[in-house]
Subunit: 299 residues, 2 copies
């Protein structure tokens, strides 16, 4: 059991029609590791500035997150500012201050190098080589991306899709990469680019899982009041990979359950600003919602 998450630990400023929060804790590795922590002991590779709250580091540790790979550097922590419309599927980036993240060269601690699953959370795809070169044959390599890399590093991104096992994308990203409007075509085209599993996230409409010879669909938890959608995708990845890390292998049934856990963890993430919801969440509540998902779709 070992899942390494390479990504951002950050501050987010969030503006929504029903409230705002200044410089609360966020970041892909933060959400992903918290979500995964209900199934395994995830390991983070990332960087923060000296301004990052020790309290949050203590919280992550208390949830079993291994922080040996998280560097604390002189300077300020990565800060993202985003704004949501009333239709929370629509997000606008207002500001991105990379700060100490700007020249982040992810160094993998020796102790992490035999890890079974490596997750590259929206890294610059040009850095994949450097990161993956530090691991001894991980069993599964997963990646996510962001629109920035699709627009500016398209060739490198396509090359990297050829070497990973699992790819997470939202509907917009899947369409931009493949040029397909139909999401079934887009998902199949992504599998054709390399990954044996593609997780296509559709926000309130759930997610589709594409494999070499199957399609599986998972709904979103019916949520009436989305407070803050930030981190939903990373929490999905954390639930998915965390569950897989605790299971014997990516057999079809395990992949299906992992996708449902992904949707379960994403559904908790959006119920409060930032990582707020994870402060009171326990495995029992996760399992209870997993059972609700069965009732939601069983016929």
């Amino acid at each position: 059991m070992s899942l390494v998450i390479v990504g951002s630990v950050a501050f987010d400023t969030i503006r929504t029609p029903w409230g705002s929060r200044e410089r609360i804790v966020g970041g892909s590795a933060t959400y992903c590791s918290l979500a995964a922590s209900y199934f395994t002991r995830p390991r983070i590779v990332g960087v923060v500035g000296r301004d990052f709250p020790r309290k949050t580091l203590a919280l992550l540790k208390s949830r079993g997150v291994d922080l040996e790979g998280l560097k604390i550097k002189a300077g300020k922590t990565f800060h993202w500012e985003g704004k949501y419309e009333e239709d929370t599927n629509r997000r606008m980036t207002v500001r991105t201050e990379l700060n100490v993240f700007a020249d982040f060269r992810p160094e993998v601690p020796a102790r992490y190098r035999n890890s079974r699953i490596v997750y590259l959370a929206n890294l610059n795809p040009e850095h994949h080589d450097f990161v993956l070169g530090q691991f001894h044959k991980p069993g599964l390599v997963a990646m996510d991306t962001i629109r920035l890399w699709i627009d500016t590093k398209r060739e490198t991104l396509l090359r990297e899709l050829g070497r990973v096992d699992i790819f997470f994308a939202n509907d917009e990203e899947a369409r931009l990469i493949t040029g397909e409007i139909n999401l079934i075509s887009a998902g199949k085209a992504l599998v054709g680019l390399g990954p044996s599993l593609v997780l296509l996230k559709k926000g309130e409409h759930g997610a589709l899982v594409f494999g070499r010879d199957f399609v599986f669909g998972v709904l979103a938890h019916p949520c009436e009041h989305v407070i803050d959608p930030t981190g939903a995708g990373d929490s999905f990845a954390g639930g998915f990979l965390g569950y897989l890390d605790g299971s014997p292998g990516p057999a079809p049934g395990e992949v299906r359950r992992a996708a449902v856990y992904g949707s379960v963890l994403a559904s908790f993430a959006i119920e409060d600003f930032g990582i707020g919801r994870f402060l009171t969440l326990d495995r029992e509540l996760v399992e209870a919602r997993f059972r609700q998902f069965r009732k939601l779709t069983a016929f």
Copy 2:
């Protein structure tokens, strides 16, 4: 077993980026009755002009559709012209020629009056009274609507929602009626307006079923090549109501299976222009796809 469908039998002219068809057979009652015909012997109340092909009437009869309530009047058949973008979720009405449908006063044959289920397919809500007054206490009354009535007959539509058991709406209609952007809120608000069951159709994302104390979700069949989305909603209603008409009653498990059959029939409707796909469809193919839906969502 008796389902009466009150709606249009029409000609459609369809334009899509991958092909067009002039004056092919369509209409809400046509799609709905064909979809329902795999489960029951649906009865149509409607009107066509003398230009309507006898061949299609013979086809409907051969599928077990009862046409006693379909009037053939001097004049031309209702003709709708629509255009789809490459994103087939977006439809534009180019032209509507009501013709004989303009002063259609739906008269219910005596033999239909004890029917168990009555479906009012996008009728002018001001005509509901006249139609429903001709039935002897139907067990279930279902209705659909269109944007035109939401925009022009809002008060009457809201009143009618208070007297029906089942309401079919797509996402746009649900939002327009309730003012809620979040679809879970919109679905619950619609139940609050009267119907004990609301079927909220989301195109490629499937459908949500709202009851007084439950939410159920059904996916869409993963379809890569949507040829013609016209009639998908009416086929959904036909599969749903047809299955319910053949079952003992709207118990929760039956409603869930009915919704899946609705999604199954809608998925066939979009695979060809007009009612083309129904020409070769049989119950065995319907059941095979129903089983595929289980594999699509089981975990």
